[in-house]
Amino acid sequence: MLRIVLRRLGATIPVMLVVAVVVFLMLHLSAGDPAAIIAGDNATEEDIALLRKSLGLDRPLAEQFVQWIWQLAQGDLGVSIFNRVPVATMIAQRMEPTIALTVLTMTLAVSLAVPLGVLAAWRVGTWVDHTIMALAVAAFSCPVFLIGYALVQQFARTWKVLPVQGYTPLSEGLVPFLLHLALPAISLGLIYTALLARMTRSTMLEVLGEDYIRTARAKGLGVRQVLLQHGLRNAAVPIVTTIGLGIALLIGGVVVAESVFAIPGIGRLTVEALQQRDYPVIQGVILVSSLAYVLVNLLIDLSYLLLDPRIRY
């Protein structure tokens, strides 16, 4: 087990390098120029050129890349072009809200979706199944911002029970923290729940159709036992895969939710940095989030070993 972990961790280094090269090239070859944005409307071309020079953007790409990688090797992500704040500081400031929102949404969704999916599979073809699946489809096909606006309208403006926007750090108390995250987590959680419930149901149905389940039933095992011991256990691998895939989907939603609810997280940091072409920030954020993602995937792969003894690496 330890050897597998070490080997996989070693394997992340080339992955990160690939990400670094791709992101760097993609950004620096793309249209848009931070110097033009900073210099503003009055700037002449000479002004912009001077600014590019003082920002170091006029040097050859290869040189800029080598310098960036050299900095990285020393653990330095660089500073923002715009406000000269170190990228590491900016990421650290923005990390908590994003992690909090993601974890809360995941917890909410998994704890809702798996039971719902199993229930739908168990009662397949009945009104229970149809209702759950109809709700899932409805939720699944609604853009996050629409659900967000609707929830804000009801909970924050009509009933005034939850705040419209903003984020309160956990350090300022659990209750305000949860109150501020409630609406974004529900808006995101609905979609994620719908996806996960669908996948759980499909996989459960697949597993429940297997001959050994029938055998188990024939042996006189109770419904609950068959569902939980045999069904869910065998369905676990695809469900966990979906949860893993869902994290990626979730991040997309988080970006949008952070915009709608004014949560100062990583997603908004990246979108704003992209719009402004703040290269060091974009590069830093994408690298860090890639690293996080790779580690999560490693955990998922390892969980296969625990969940399905037939898989080996």
Partner: protein, 530 residues
């Protein structure tokens, strides 16, 4: 024994009392905080390095200026107590008000002012113009400095007291930073201090009252007069989604909204908890910018053709909607309601005439089928709306339009390219500008027709520049007014840009917020909250 115990008890009580009194003194009342949602994220704190409006508004809080405009757009002394001009019109002497201090408690000295003017004049167009007249700036005494000109210039005070991008006075140690390097230390002498440790780019910026600020005794008038900070703390919050801001304002989570979407003004006016106020009598002018380097807009006729495509009401309907927030028609390059308003020469703009436009385009050498590249920003709703109307107008005149959609930052970068439109260049794009700067030929940056030295689009008309230069040298305000008509008549011939309308952006705030000033832009002095 008894006595002593009493004394001890008494002493303890006194100590307790003193303690609570001290605490009471430290916090005489609740800290008065205003939460304002601003129109953009404050990313840069150096107003010389960038001209972004949000940074200018930050600078208005943190820095003070030598002069400032009043509601009639006349420059009035602000940091300056008194000034003199020598009879030959060549030497200004400025004396600062006593007691001015920076946020680090250092006094404001004439050297600080001179260094700040120098740094500013390297970047700002009006500053650059002023710099060509200045031969020397010198310290006279602790509060006085002089400015010597090589020939009389009419716009010295107007330059020092510009409404946007004036020379903000920084300590000399910061003002000596090269103009192409960013100042990151926000120490100024303005009524508010920037709390850098609470700054979260992308989320919020925090300001505290500057306790050492000495306001002028006059009442506030536009950007001039006494700047009294009545708030203890000001939080600027940036929320990118307008629906969220509106909801937060209605729910009372925020107090003040700089830029409510114009379509919602009607709804906000109807709300019992919210006030709506137009703080800017000049407002915003929309403009279509032709690229004069490439056909057909390299010819006057090509640019004049654009005038005939415009139905300002249609543009304003799409961009603004609410008819109470725009002018039905404004043919003044230098804004309606301004000192320099005139309708001279604007006849072609009054009514669309597609046949005329077509004929003029043909004269300019436009061949049907030739692609005209229009840059359409996807992430700026107002520009996007106006561009949509422009495209439909061009098509009505038989023009083949090649719409290039991209986000605004891509467009700001692409528009600086001089390449032919089909090789990464462009023909037309839309932007807006406003305020007192737009209302003067020298500081209206899109009007600038200095060819190579002009903004993207490279408007080029030496004759127009000659008129402007003569106008700027005229020291008499009344005579300058007459020169405007000549300038505008010429502008409608060479068409540096096409104004497609003028509209207003009110601010909205909770009813418990008072003292919001009509200063042309959101300023936060004089605002109180109950």
């Amino acid at each position: 024994m008894h006595n002593r115990r009493n004394i001890l008890a008494g002493a303890g009580a006194a100590a307790l009392l003193a303690g609570s009194l001290a605490e009471g003194r430290a916090q005489p009342k609740k800290i008065k905080t205003l939460k304002a949602v601003v129109h953009a994220d404050l990313k840069i704190v150096d107003p010389v390095w960038t001209t972004a409006y949000i940074t200018q508004r930050h600078a208005n809080l943190v820095y003070d200026t030598l002069f400032a405009l009043n509601a009639k757009f006349e420059p009035k002394p602000q940091m300056v107590e008194s000034y003199t001009l020598s009879p030959d019109g060549l030497k200004y002497t400025f004396t600062l008000r006593p007691g001015l201090v920076f946020h680090d408690n250092q006094p404001v000295r004439p050297v600080d002012c001179i260094a700040s003017i120098k740094r500013w004049s390297a970047r700002d167009p009006m500053g650059q113009l002023l710099a060509t007249f200045i031969t020397e700036m010198a310290v006279v005494d602790d509060r006085t400095f002089s400015m010597t000109l090589k020939e009389p210039y009419g716009l010295v005070l107007d330059s020092l007291g510009k409404a946007t991008s004036p020379p903000y006075i920084m300590p000399e140690r910061l003002a000596n930073t090269p103009p192409n390097e960013q100042v990151t230390d926000p120490t100024g002498s303005g009524p508010f201090m920037f709390k850098k440790d609470e700054w979260r780019p992308g989320n919020r910026a925090v300001y505290l009252r500057h306790p050492g600020y000495v306001p002028r005794s006059e009442p506030p008038d536009y950007l001039s007069g006494g700047k009294i900070a009545k708030l203890d703390r000001l939080e600027w919050i940036y929320i990118p989604d307008n629906n969220t801001v509106l909801s937060a304002l209605q729910a009372g989570e925020i107090d003040y909204f700089e830029a409510p979407p114009l379509d919602f003004i009607g709804m906000l006016k109807g709300s019992p908890d919210i006030s709506v106020l137009n703080i800017d009598s000049l407002g915003v002018q929309g403009l279509i910018r032709p690229n004069t380097l490439h056909p057909p807009f390299d010819k006057y006729e090509g640019r004049q053709a654009l005038l005939h495509l415009i139905d300002q009401a249609e543009y304003m309907g799409a961009v603004v909607g609410d008819a109470s927030l725009y002018m039905p028609f404004c043919g003044a390059y230098f804004l309606c309601n301004s000192d320099n308003e005139t309708a001279v020469g604007s006849e072609p703009l009054r009514k669309p005439d597609y046949a005329k436009a077509k004929a003029l385009l043909a004269q300019a050498g436009y061949v049907p089928g030739q692609k005209i590249v229009v840059l359409q920003p996807t992430d700026r709703p107002q520009y996007n709306a106006a561009t949509t109307v422009l495209i439909s107008g061009l098509r009505k005149a038989g023009v083949t339009v090649d719409v290039q959609s991209a986000d605004w930052s891509t467009i700001t970068s692409r528009r600086t390219r001089r390449d032919p439109p089909d090789k990464g260049g462009w023909n037309l794009f839309i932007t807006t500008h406003g305020g007192p700067d737009t209302s003067m030929p020298v500081s209206n940056v899109w009007f600038n027709s200095k060819c190579e030295r002009a903004n993207p689009g490279w408007a080029c008309d030496p004759e127009l520049e000659k008129l402007i230069s003569a106008w700027a040298r005229e020291p008499d305000r009344a005579k300058r007014h007459a020169g405007i008509e000549e300038i505008q008549r010429r502008a409608y011939v060479s068409v540096p840009y096409v104004p497609f309308g003028q509209f207003f952006q009110p601010v909205a705030f909770r009813k418990n917020v008072t003292g919001v000033l009509a200063a042309g832009q959101p300023v936060y002095w004089n605002i109180d909250k109950s």
